[in-house]
Symmetry: C2
Subunit: 333 residues, 2 copies
């Protein structure tokens, strides 16, 4: 009954009219430090627990983005948000303090592009005037939920990644300045057969490769049409695998391609293969990438956030790691 359809095209130019990024100390000390709006040195963000700290970071990203857009919370109709904590509690507890409709999303570390895709679709159709799209992650909460207690001091393999303490929020509207979201491609769930929780970059690379082919097939664009192509948090090893997977199908990504996880830390920061976490691509998008789109350095960008969809329970039960990558195309005015 015809071709599979994964890509949405937006005719009414839903735009990112403002973006906000909030990160932790380590991220602030990395190569992108100067681009982030807020660098917070206290890992608990002034709260009593790491979880409440994560919610505080999340809240600052959302309220900051709304303020940067020159709006009040009441001017934003809907919040599309998710995070890595069980039951998305950072998103939900922040949403409790906001007056707008709330859509909880979970796509692990690809939540930012899922939120942008759905937010753009709702804004483009005229259902809402403005949407806030947000996600984040926190090293300390993710580590103790997904891996080991922080005090345990578990040794990591060199291909491990470091969950970024970071949050980002974009405000979408069809009115106002800023780059338009012209297309969004919703990923399929793929599985490379990886079952090593420290090697998520490899698991996710295959999802990013699957989605980039789909973006090119569905839109007719190819790598020459983009000034930059970013994956979310594959890290150094995952980004190499991504390059190899694309090369196998005749696609040479070259210098245009970067991975937000690879960009986040200096090698000397002891973060192994780089950053992971939903906040990684969210914070890089809402600082560095958005700045370069608004500053005229980029005309068209493809962002492929990448998510590993396992849980500790499925890993204990011997399962491999399924992954997904949702892509959005951003075009400067």
């Amino acid at each position: 009954m015809g071709e599979k359809i994964q890509t949405m095209t937006f005719g009414n130019k839903p735009r990112i009219i403002a973006g906000m990024s909030v990160v932790g100390k380590k991220e602030g000390e990395g190569p992108l430090g100067k681009y982030f709006d807020i660098v917070q040195y206290d890992p608990k963000f002034g709260e009593k627990t790491f979880e409440k700290g994560e919610a505080n970071m999340f809240s600052r990203a959302i309220s900051g983005a709304i303020r940067k857009a020159g709006l009040e919370p009441y001017d934003v109709d809907v919040l599309l948000a998710g995070d890595l904590l069980n039951q998305l509690v950072s998103s939900s507890y922040v949403a409790r303090g906001l007056p707008m409709a709330y859509l909880g999303l979970y796509s692990a570390c690809s939540t930012m592009t899922e939120a942008l895709a759905l937010g753009a679709a709702l804004i483009d159709a005229g259902h809402f005037r403005r949407a806030a799209c947000a996600t984040g992650s926190h090293f300390a909460t993710a580590e103790r939920q997904y891996r080991y207690p922080l005090e345990y001091g578990c040794q990591r393999p060199p291909y491990a990644q470091w969950t970024a303490t970071a949050a980002g929020c974009s405000i979408l509207s069809c009115e106002g300045p800023g780059p338009a979201i012209t297309h969004a491609t919703i990923g399929r769930v793929v599985d490379f057969g990886i079952n090593d929780l420290n090697n998520m970059g490899a698991a996710m690379a295959v999802a990013a490769a699957d989605t980039i082919y789909t973006v090119f097939e569905d839109t007719g664009f190819d790598e020459r049409d983009f000034d930059a192509i970013f994956t979310g948090d594959l890290g150094r090893l995952g980004a190499e695998i991504m390059r190899d997977l694309c090369r196998e199908r005749g696609l040479e990504l070259g210098q245009k391609y970067s991975d937000c996880g690879e960009m986040m830390y200096y090698r000397g920061q002891n973060c192994y293969c780089g950053a992971s976490g939903a906040g990684c691509s969210a914070s890089v998008l809402n600082s560095y990438i958005l700045g370069r789109l608004n500053g005229g350095m980029y005309k068209r960008v493809l962002l492929l956030a990448t998510g590993a969809l396992m849980s500790p329970t499925t890993s204990y039960q011997g399962e491999t790691i399924p992954s997904v990558s949702h892509g959005v195309i951003l075009e400067a005015e």
Copy 2:
């Protein structure tokens, strides 16, 4: 800058062209038993663990709905799904075996109406031809994740609810027979100050009441315009609170109002105040409610699924329970 907007109106009649429900033994022995498509007596659904059993139930609901619509998996463009397990692993692992794009959603027990709202928006805008919207829950997996190990035999208060072992899937398309989704109202997150994990019906009732007022304000409909109004899983006590909250604002719900959680079990089944769980409203919608819409007994129905957005971690940290309710209006042909 104008009124808050929470309601979407769909002009192209996205319809539920097929629905499928799969439930466990206890649900099959309840008052709605004869309406469900599949009643499975083995709580592990033939698998080795309860979690894999839940995924199996989920998978049967989705593949069954696709089959009932006369389609193949390749004919469905996108799956919008979520569940109660950490990291939505039932949804994601089932999505791994399907060829379509995947959007993971989390709205606790209001995930079914979040999926229908977003699915209808994407279908209505013409981005996709057909969407599958699915959610589910399982007594044994939810109990051990959210409360106590099953073997512990913890005593429950009389106002507790019983997580339904149930899954439901709706196939949406603008072409084909079936009731149209004419409006969807996205809920705000509200908090009644309840911190008793056994009293989620009370926590969620305030969200359902908030959303029903919004539905009536935004659409101009009132209770007389509906043949039936359903909440998701408030249970007996929560449904009473819902009636009281509405009465306080001059809205008498009367006989038209039922709660899917209250309908699920006989009193003699020892399920306290009734069913909870994302699968509760999903299975009742895709069996009893859909049957009565297609059979001409209902002309217009309002379904308000209800979700409690806490996690065990937030409860341990002394937090109260925020809740949300998303509503959809269904109209028979």
